[in-house]
Each structure stands twice: as structure tokens, then as C-alpha cells.
Symmetry: C5
Subunit: 354 residues, 5 copies
Amino acid sequence: MPKSFKETSKHKGLSPGTVVYIGEEKTAEVKISVIDYNKNEFTKREGVKEEECFPFKEKDSITWINVDGIHNTDIIEKLGKCFDLHPLVMEDIGNTTQRPKVEDFGDYIFVVLKMLYFDERGEEIEVEQVSLVLGKNFVISFQEKEGDVFDPVRDRIEKGKGRIRKMGSDYLLYSLIDAVVDNYFSVLEKMGDRIEELEEDIVERTEPESLHNIHKSKKDMILIRRSVWPLRELVNSLAREKTSLISANVIIYFRNVYDHTIQVIDTVENFRDMLSGLHDTFLSSLSNKMNEIMKVLTMFASIFIPLTFIAGIYGMNFKFMPELNWRWGYFSVWGVIITLGVSMLFYFKRKKWL
Amino acid sequence: MPKSFKETSKHKGLSPGTVVYIGEEKTAEVKISVIDYNKNEFTKREGVKEEECFPFKEKDSITWINVDGIHNTDIIEKLGKCFDLHPLVMEDIGNTTQRPKVEDFGDYIFVVLKMLYFDERGEEIEVEQVSLVLGKNFVISFQEKEGDVFDPVRDRIEKGKGRIRKMGSDYLLYSLIDAVVDNYFSVLEKMGDRIEELEEDIVERTEPESLHNIHKSKKDMILIRRSVWPLRELVNSLAREKTSLISANVIIYFRNVYDHTIQVIDTVENFRDMLSGLHDTFLSSLSNKMNEIMKVLTMFASIFIPLTFIAGIYGMNFKFMPELNWRWGYFSVWGVIITLGVSMLFYFKRKKWL
Amino acid sequence: MPKSFKETSKHKGLSPGTVVYIGEEKTAEVKISVIDYNKNEFTKREGVKEEECFPFKEKDSITWINVDGIHNTDIIEKLGKCFDLHPLVMEDIGNTTQRPKVEDFGDYIFVVLKMLYFDERGEEIEVEQVSLVLGKNFVISFQEKEGDVFDPVRDRIEKGKGRIRKMGSDYLLYSLIDAVVDNYFSVLEKMGDRIEELEEDIVERTEPESLHNIHKSKKDMILIRRSVWPLRELVNSLAREKTSLISANVIIYFRNVYDHTIQVIDTVENFRDMLSGLHDTFLSSLSNKMNEIMKVLTMFASIFIPLTFIAGIYGMNFKFMPELNWRWGYFSVWGVIITLGVSMLFYFKRKKWL
Amino acid sequence: MPKSFKETSKHKGLSPGTVVYIGEEKTAEVKISVIDYNKNEFTKREGVKEEECFPFKEKDSITWINVDGIHNTDIIEKLGKCFDLHPLVMEDIGNTTQRPKVEDFGDYIFVVLKMLYFDERGEEIEVEQVSLVLGKNFVISFQEKEGDVFDPVRDRIEKGKGRIRKMGSDYLLYSLIDAVVDNYFSVLEKMGDRIEELEEDIVERTEPESLHNIHKSKKDMILIRRSVWPLRELVNSLAREKTSLISANVIIYFRNVYDHTIQVIDTVENFRDMLSGLHDTFLSSLSNKMNEIMKVLTMFASIFIPLTFIAGIYGMNFKFMPELNWRWGYFSVWGVIITLGVSMLFYFKRKKWL
Amino acid sequence: MPKSFKETSKHKGLSPGTVVYIGEEKTAEVKISVIDYNKNEFTKREGVKEEECFPFKEKDSITWINVDGIHNTDIIEKLGKCFDLHPLVMEDIGNTTQRPKVEDFGDYIFVVLKMLYFDERGEEIEVEQVSLVLGKNFVISFQEKEGDVFDPVRDRIEKGKGRIRKMGSDYLLYSLIDAVVDNYFSVLEKMGDRIEELEEDIVERTEPESLHNIHKSKKDMILIRRSVWPLRELVNSLAREKTSLISANVIIYFRNVYDHTIQVIDTVENFRDMLSGLHDTFLSSLSNKMNEIMKVLTMFASIFIPLTFIAGIYGMNFKFMPELNWRWGYFSVWGVIITLGVSMLFYFKRKKWL
């Protein structure tokens, strides 16, 4: 069961626009960090209060407000009111069951993404929702919990690497989405390794466990697919958006992310094809193995059952059985048995059962 | 068999526009309730006669007329004539085999939806048709029988929660459609639980019963799909409709329902994928199990049939069988038998059949 | 083999526009009936000659000429020439292998439909071609043989029920198409019953016959699909046609037929899904049954083959077999046998094979 | 392997526009025939030299130049230069691995089609490429070898049957394409017969040979599909082409061919569905048969193995076996054996294995 | 695992526009060759330094700069800066995990293609990325390593064969893409041979190895498909591009490549169909073979188990067994055994098991 689905019904019956946290229960404190920069300046503050973010709304420099944790709906509502977000947007931020989407509200663009992780043991895929709001001079990002996927972006801003300090908030939005998409590649790489292992597994032996693993990987691919497919349309609409918020020279970067997204989808589809191919191969090797087993059984049975019959015949206790008294009877029977056995073996050899 | 299909042929041969009730036979009385409200006022009346609804047509306040029960076609016709509904619309309201659709008649918009329930025992899915008519100041809703899915909306109107009292009839229409879509989530959640159970079932044992359950769930998904897919186009056209009946600031709410609908469809498709994956897995475990069974059979047969043959040989009654008189004959045979048996066991061990 | 396909090659090599009857050989006489009506008047004549139809072309009242039987190509040609039909249209009328289609020739619209019947024994589906020509004041319908599917329409005209007498020839065309589509529902209903029966059949027992029936139903669905799918586009283009022949207030009726067509297609697709689901289930129960059979075999063999071996051992005729002379030998062997047998039974019990 | 594919690589590395013959090696002489006609006149010459065709380019009457054999690239080049064909067109004519397509060069339209035949033994499908060039007053057709598919068209021109003599070169092009499409029907009819035979075959017995035949037919359908599908787009674009070369009153004839093409595609898809249905049914009957076999085995084994065990018991040579000396021992054993055997039979009867 | 995917994650976290080589590690020196030509002149230089290429940017003659090896990112950057390439383009050139695409930057067009090879042993498919930059008077091509696929183009330029010397850089771009597409045909031809071999293999015997080969070929087709499908859109957009860089008379050549691309895709899809058909056939023959094996087993067991039982009966040691003392007892038993055996054989013969 995709986690993201399970808790949707909590929302049922509430008035639209009510901000409710729908997701796993969490108690960790919500952390807000603010990065403010332009070509020349850079300030970074962690653990700020939501009220401290308000002044950045009007500032000319680019501001990136990152909120780790969305289970405290008060914070979402306060920030939302300050930055004039539509009630439905605030509701969507708090609801982790969203489908990736982009919505243009004129003054700001609202983007919902899904981040994918492998859990610590590297076995289960975890999905985390990231909401991004792009305004004229600011980007607000909401994550379910602290993560390190945006660290390279922070690093680039801090060290002034690349173009990021010279560009606007639209380029920051691009950088964040790019970081999320890049992260997919590492998840897919791990999936790829798993599929490769499975493949070797199946060639060597056909354990019920392999079946279980194929089934599990298939389910994981369904989950990944669910997060990745809507991204295509999302990034595409950003790359073609007629909005004053994204400038022409940033569009080309979004087109670049779009290419990456297509590549991700491509890989996902290929993996699905491979997995269903693996399943077919698994089934076929099962049948193959069954054939092997049956051949063994049939050979043993077909050779020894007739021979046992012959022995049975001369085990009968009839008074008058001429062969029994014949001097060479016993040895002749052995002769017959060996001849029969060997010719059966030849027969099976010819049938390629051996 | 989808119930909704079975009775369609009753209609055959009737003149188009004839209002006939097509659905399960019902005897319960038709109940009409009227809720009339604006920002400041609120009246609610239950068990009203159809004639009492007529004055609301011209009233400025928002009126919601809810009809529980459509088997009394007289009421539909009277209401329809009063509110100037097209004969085909009235026919559609009475015919529970409709496919979800939206039709814009200029003065009013006609919407047909399907509501999904689990029956009391929580095993069978039931489908109920809901018809909605949106006029300038009113919404008329027709349900097959009394239900509680609209209760939260009634509650919000009565208590003045959220925006609903401040908005027009278009927002009321949205609220009703939203309530129906929200209800899908709880049905899907139940389906999800069932699939999860099935999954655990199959991992543990492969009973014919599991097969039956997979088949049943697949059929249920066909039914759900049939109700949900047309909804996509329906809500989409409402969210993009160029009609004076739906105001610009309500459009965004319809876009929100649209997102939910996509999410529902997504989940339905995922469940279908999962179910067909389950079926594949079921088949594979059947084959697996068969292999196990065959291994047991083959091992027993392959070990004991040759041994029985050896015993058979020395059970023969030939006069001249030198071994029989040999002092250690019996023990040598035991030696041969044990050697053979053990080496067979090793052979099967090596083949990983043990 | 779809009948409609088999005889197409008869036509090969003929000049286009040559009217040839392509279909099952028939000898029944061609019957022409004419119904002429307007709001106030109504005349109905059966068994008229083709020449008698010509005057109706110019008459202001609505005329419906129905031709039962198209194997007499003379009649088609005469009527066609009188009503200025294109040679290709006449060719199409005579050729029962047409695909449903609509063609707008400016002065008239040409529609080809497929009617579906169950034969008398209710087992085989039969396809009949219906061609309709809509002119300003007339509709000409060509059927392969006499049928009763248009009777309700005739009845409505005669008795003046509904709107039909007040509307033009476009409404008559609609009524005829509606009658054909309504007829699909009863065919589908029968198919639905058959699928339901099959379903019960398979749950109870997995006879080869069920397989045959599934296969047959699948083939029937291919046939139905072939007739129904093109209808969608056909009715849709009529509902959106920019032609002076179909008036704006009749368009809405065509939209209604369109909804029905979608419903028919929906049901057809659902039935196909169900049938392929049934086939899967059938295959799975076969495997299940095989497992059952193998369990029985394996149990019997695994229990008795070792026991027989033990009996075989003491059936050997060695001179020196100490156990044989032991007083309790026989009973001890029974002890061993029973212990072994019972513990095997327990083993299989634990493996859930019992 | 589709033949048409195998030799494509011959072309590799050549300059585009180089006319090379790519196809089976042929030595037959290239034959050119010219038919020149208008409403009143008709001349037909066979075995003409390519140079003799040049004057027809400017003649007002309609000229049809038919070239049987394209392995002599000189002829293609000479004709091409005279009629101003683009080098790529000449290359395409010589290359039999083309996909059906239409290209509009303003002065002329270039059409590539695939003709399908059954070889003499009626077993293998053969594909032949036909290239058509439509100019203002002429049509040039290139065939791989002499064939009779265009004979009816020749006949109609010669005898002045139908409209052909009164129409232009566009109608001639239509007639030729129509002849090719009509030819598909006879190929499909043969395929249909083959599928019907297969169907009967499978119902009666499940030979490995049937499997081979299904596989072969499936491959043939892939081949046919490859030739037929692109035709759809081709004919459609001719029927909608905005070109002065095809006059308005011929367009309707192309629409007619288009309908036939759709019918062909429809049939091809149905046959594919049927074949994959057959394959499923084949597999299912295999499983069914396996079940039958296993039932027989299981019954024999389950009845006689226990009985043999009993016989084995009393074949033991213990000194002290009280039953052996009992007067009715032997008959009692028979009693037990018969009772056991019969009750087993009843058990299997009840399980419906008999 | 597609190689091209595996190393993508190396890129993670880098600033966009950073040129990094992502691909297999390579040490071979990067080789640059320059061909400069017009109608009359031709110069060719190999092993030039990147700086030596700069002057060609402004020259009027057509220049083709070919870079073999992209692991030296310095060279890419220097060339890129000189020819004003966008940083993202340079990044894409160095990243061998690109998906085929075309991007129009106004001044130049950037094309990424995939080249397919069989490795020396002809078993594994290798993918190489080719990047092409089309400017006004130049084409720059980047290959991963030295290859011979462009040799025919070089040859045509050098010897002045065909049109190439008379045309512009757009025709050169066409020639290079054409060379890549032509190369696909030889890869597909080899795949075709492999499939044909597999087909013969399966008809003759059903070895597990065949299964492995089918699986491998399927995976190869996934790889080929991944390279070929995006090409379609790519070439199509070149053939329809409204850009001053591609002149109208070259467009027709791109349309020609487009046709070839469609042909390649067609073949790829057909091969996929064939492979999945092969897999089905393989599975079916496995089942067939299983049936054969089971028949043998069942026959042997069903004939000899009852016979052995009879022999067992008369091997019992009861004191009073009248038959044993009967003179013809032994021969009667033989009679019974032979009768039984023969009638069983007849029974199986009738069941077509022999």
C-alpha cells in the first residue's frame, strides 16, 4: 500500500481550505532556515521563528525560506497568510498525499514534488513530499523532515559557485527541482543494482524468494512511477510557462531538467519492462525445472517398474513354473533385466532426457 | 455483472424523453429536503412536497433541493417542468444506468455522478447514481436513496463553517461533487486493505480461495473504474467551462477536485496493476508449489522404486540362485540398499531438491 | 470468421460504383413499405413498388421508405437514381461487408450501421447491415431482411406518441439510429448473462467445455466490438455535423445517442476485461486442480512405496535372514509399517496437503 | 525475417540519390507496356523501349506506363530523368525495402505500396513493392515482377467499362491503388480460412504442429500488418491532399479506398486478436490435457500401489505369520483388496476424475 | 543494466553547466580532424590542436571538425567557447548518458544521437554517443572513440561523389545523421539473424539456454529501442524546423532520413513482437514436452503397476491358495497379464498417447 494513500480519508468532510496535516505522526520540532543572498551578499540563519521570515517578503535580495516539518499547521498558516497564499495552497502543503503538480497563481507559482529515498537499511523506498512556492524575490520550500538533498544547492549559494548568486529566484527554483530529479537517479541506480542481482539469482536458481523479490521490486516501481510520471508534465509546463516569474534565460535550464525527467521516466519504464521480463523468465525456468524433475521421475519409474514386474513374476508361488527349475533361469532373468534396462537408457538418451 | 447495466433494456422502445425509473425496485417514500441560505440567513425543511419547491426558483438566496429516491417519476417530472429542465434530462435522472457526464444547457448545468459504497457487510460494492442540476440560484440533487455522504456539506452550511455561506450555488455544486469524490477515497482505502490482506495471504499459502478473492477484487476494480474514469473529463470540463454559471473564483476549487479525481484514478490504476501483479505471483507460487510436490514424489519414487526392485530380485523362487545360499547374502543386499539410498539422497541434495 | 468478411473478394475486379449484392444468398422477395406523415396526417403502405416511391421525393411531408432485402440490386439502383444517390453509395448499400460510417453528400447524408441479433436458438450472434439515407424530407432505410427493431418507431409515428410527428426527417433518422443502439443493449444483456453463467461454471468445475465457451464468447465480443466501435465516431460526427439537414434542436438527441453508444462501448470493454479475467481464473484453477491431483498421487506414492519396499525385503528368499525366524518379526514389521505410515500422514498434514 | 528487411544494409555508405536495386536477384528482362487513352481513343503497346515513353510526357491523353521489373536501374534512371523525378524518388523506386508512403513533389505525386501474394503452394506470403508516379497526364507504375493484379484495370480501360475512360490520370491512380487494396482482401480471406482450420484443429487435438502453425500465422500477420498499417495514413492523405493533381470529384473515390483500407486494418487486428486467443486456448487445452493425463496416472497409482503393498505383506517369509495358515486368509485378502479398490473408484468418481 | 544509466549519479550535486565527462574511463588521446571544402577545394587535416580549429569559424567554406574522444573536457570547453556554445550544451556533450534530442539555439543547432555497435565478438551491443553542432558554415561532431561509421561521408567529400561538395553544412549534417541511421540497419540485421536462429532452435529443442538467449535478445531490444525511439521525433523536428540553418532543398533529405527512421522503429517493434511470440512459443513447447514426458510416465506406470500387483498376489505365502496348485495356473496368469497389457496399450493408442 502506498503510504501516501492510506491516510487520505482523514481529510474527509472537512471544509476545503482547512489546513490539516495528513501524514505519519511526527513530534520532531519544525525547523525554519532562511538564506538571503544577492550577487555580493550572503546571510544564512537557522532555527528562525516564522515571524522573522515576514520582512523578507519585500526585500530585493533573493530569499530562500526552508521549512523542515509540516506537521505544525500553525506555521504553514502564518507563513501562508504573510505571503498571501491561497487557502487551498496551504491545505495542499499540509497534505502529504498530493500528486506532483504545478499551479500558477499569478503572483506566485506553487509546485508539489515527491522525493524518493531508500530507508537506512536500503530496502524500503520512502516518499517525502516537497512543496515549493516561487515568488518574485523568494522561494519557500516545505519538506516533511530534515534531509540533505538540498545541501549541494545551499553549498553553491554559500560558496558562490556557478551562476546561482547572479540569477533570480526562478533559477533557485530550478536548482531545487534539479536537486530532486538528480536524487531520482541514485534511487534508480540502486533499483538497477537490485534488478541485476535478481537477474543473476534467477539464472542460477529459482527460489520462491526470487519470486517474492520480483514482486517487491515491481511494487516499488509502481511507487516510483507514481511519483515520476506527473513530474514530466509539471516540468514541461514550467519550461513553457508564459509567466513573468520565470525569465527567458532560465527557461533553457528548465528544458534541461525536462530532459532529465524524460530520462528518469525512460529508465523507470525500462526497469518495468525488465522486471516483467524477469518474471516471465522466472516462470519459464520454473517450467524448465519441472520438466527436469519430471524427466528424472519418469526415467526411474519407467526403467524400474517393468523390471520389478519381471522380478514379481518369478516371485510367484505356483507349483508348476517350468522356468524356476531351469538351471539358467535366474541368470537369464538377469540377462533380460539388464538388456531391458540398458535399452531403456538408450531410448531416453535418444530422447535427450539424459 | 454491473447492476447498472442489467436493467437498461427495460427502456427499449420507449419514446425519447419519457421519464421512466430504471433501477432496483424500491418502495421507500421519496423524501425532499430544502435548504435555503445566504450570508446571513439559513432555513432547512425536510419532507416537503415538490410543489413547495417551486417558489425557490425565483428567490435570490441559494437553494439546495435534495431529492432522496427517484423511483417516483412524477416528482421528477413536476420538478423538471417547474425548473424548465429538458425532457432528456428528466429521462436521465430517472435512469440509474447513466454514465457520469456533464451537460451545459445554458440556463442550467446537468451533472450525473456515481457514488460508491460498501454494503453493510463491507463486502460488496454498491453504486448509486447522483444527479445534480446547477441553476443560477439553486442546486437540485437527486439520490437513489437516503445517504449520509452530503451530511458534512449540510453541516457546513448550517453552522456557517468555511466559505460556503458566502459563496453562490456554483460553490455548493463544487462542495457536493467534492463530497462524492472524497467518498471514493474511503472506498479505495478499503480496497487497499483488502489487497494488502490478499498479498499476505498469497505469500503464506496458495489456497483456491485466494484466487477467488483476487478475481472478485479485479471485478470490483472494473466497477470502480467504470464510475471514476468518466469523472475526470467531467470535472475537467467544469474547471474549464466557459459558462456564466460558474464564477472565476470557484474555478480554482474545481481544479482542486480535478486533482483529487486524478489521484483517485491514479490509485485505481495502481490497484489494478497490483492485482494483476498478485495474480501473476499467485500463479507463480502455484507453479512453485507444484515443483515442491513433484520433488517430494520424485525423491520418494526414485529412491524406493530401485530398492524395491532389488528386494524383488531376491524374492524370486528360482531353484538355482547362488546368492540366496550365501551366508552374507542378506546383509550384503542391505549394504547395497543402504549405499544406493544414501547416494541417491546425496544426489538430490546436490541438485538442491532437499 | 466474421461472415461479413468472407465474401468481400467477390467484388474484386469490378468497376467502382457497380452495384452488386455481397452477402448471404437470399431468395425472399424484397418488400418496400412507405410511411408518410406530418403533424396532422399519416399514411402507411406496405408492399409498394419502387416506382411508387418516386413522388415522395418532392412532397413536403416526412416520408420514410423502408426496403427489406437488398439482394435485388435493381431496386437499389432505381431508387438511387430517383433520389440522386452517388453510385458509390448504391454500391455500399448492396455490399453487406461495410464498416459503420457516415458520409455527408450535401443534399443527403448516408449512414451505414450494423444491427446485432441472437439467432433463434440464442447462441450465435448475427450481424445485419442497415443503410440509412437522410434527405430533406425523407429517410430511406435498407435492411438485409425483415426485422422488428424499427417497430417501436413505426408505432410511435402511427400513434403520434412523443415528439416524432412534430419533428422533421432528422428526428426520424435519430429515432432509427436510437432503435439500433437500444437493440445493442439487449444483445449485451444476453452476453452478460452468459458471462455470469460462465463465471459460476468455472468456480464450480473446470471442464474443457468452459474453456470452449470462454473462447466462443471472446470471439463474439470481437464481432460486437467490430460493429460498435465505429459507431462512436459516426454518432459523434452526426452530433457535431455542420449540415443544414440536421437542425439544432435535434442535435441534442444525437448527443443522447452518443452517450448511449459510449455506454455500449464501455460495457463491451468491461465484458472483454471480464472474459480475459475469466480465462486467467480458468487457467489458475486448472493449475490449482493439478496441484490437488499431484498431492493425492504424491501422498499415496510416498506412503506406500516405502512400505512396499519393507514388505519386499522380507519377501526375499535368502537362507540366512535372522529376522524371519524371530518370533515377533512379523508383528514388529507391522509396527514399523504403521509407525512410518502414520508419521508420513502427519508430515503431509503439517504441509497442508491433507 | 521479413525479406524486405534483410538486404537493406547493401545500401549502406552509398551517396543519397544513387539508384541501386535492393531486392532479390533477378534476371528476367524488364518489360515496359504503355497504355494511352482518352474518352474516344485507346492504344496499348507492350515491350516498348524506355525511350519510346518520353513523347507521352507532353501528350494530352492519359498515359499509363507500366514497368515490370526494377532490377535494371538504368531504365529507372532514364525514365526518371525524362519525367523530372527527384533523385531520391528514383532511389526509392529501386529499393524494395521501402515502407508504404506518399510524397507530394508539386508536379507529381510519388506513392509506394506493398502488394501481398500467397506463393504458388499457397503457404508463404510474398511481398512485392509497387511504386506509382502520378503526373498531370500520366501514371507510371513500377512492379518488381509481372503480375496480374492490374489486369482488371487494363480490361476496364480497354473495354471502356465504367467511368475510367472519361476521367483523368488521378482516377487511374485511384483504380491502381484500389486494385492493390482489393487484393489484400483475398490474402486475408486465405488467412481467415487458415485461422478457422487452426481453430478446429485445436478443439480436436493439441498437436505440437498446431503450435507451430499458430506461430507461423502470427508471423504472417506481423508481415501483413507492416504492409497495411502505413497504407491508412497514405490513402487518408491522398483523400485530403490539397493538390491540383487530384480533382475534387475523384477525392470521393479515394475516401472509398480509405474505407476499404480501414476495413482491411480492422480485419488484420481481429485476426491478430483471434490468433492470440487461439494461442491462449491452445495453452489452456494443453493444461487441460495434462490434467487428464495426471488423473489417469494418479488413479492407477493410487489404487494399485496400496493393493500391491498388501500383496507384498503376505509375500513375506516370516516363520510366524498367523494369517498365512488361516484357512480363509487368502480369500479374506481378496475381499480386502476388492473392497479397497472399489471404494477408491467411488472416491475418484465423487471427485469427478472418472 | 544499460551502461548509459549506471554512471549518471556521478553528476549529482554539481552546478549546472559544469562540463564533466560521464562515461567509461578512457585514456586514449583525443583526436581532432578537420575537413574543409567547397565546390572546388578540399583540405583534410588530422591530429590538429583545438586552437587550430578556431579560424574555421569565420571561413566561408564548409568545415567539418570531428572530435574523437570526449573524456578530455578541456578540449570541449575550449571549442565550445570559441564557437559560442551554451554551457549546458558543453555539459551535454561530455555526458554520455544523454537521450537523443535536438535543440535549436538560433545560431546553431545541437543534436545528440546514439550509435549502436556489436562488440568484436559480435555478442554484446555497445552504445556510443555522437553529438553534432550545426552552424552556418560548420559542423562539429563529437564521438566517444574513433569509429568508421562516418568514413563513407569522408570518402564522398574527398572524392566529390554525389551532391555533398555542392551543398552547405546542413547537407553535411544530414549525411552524418544518415550514416548513423544506416548503421542501425546492420545492427538490426544481426539481431534479425539471431532471432531467426533462436526460432530454429526452439522448434528443434527447448533448452534452458534458448530461454536465456530469448531473455538476452529482449534486453538488447530494450536497449536499441531506447536509442531509436527518440530519434523519430528528433529527425521529424529537423525535417520541419523553421530555421534559417537548414535550407528548403535539404529538408527533403531529412524527410528521407525520417522515412528510414520509421523503418528502423518498425523493425524494432516487429522484432519485439517476434521475440515475445518466441517466448510464448517456447513456453508452449515446454508444456508440450511436459505432456510428452507425462504420457510416457503414465503409460509405463499404468501398464506395469497393475501387472505387478497381479504378480504380487501370487507371491503371497498363504497355505491355502487353490490357484497355486492348479496345473495351468502359471500360464493363465501370463494370459491375464498379456491380455491386460495389450488392452491397455490399445486404450492409450486410442487416446493418441502413442
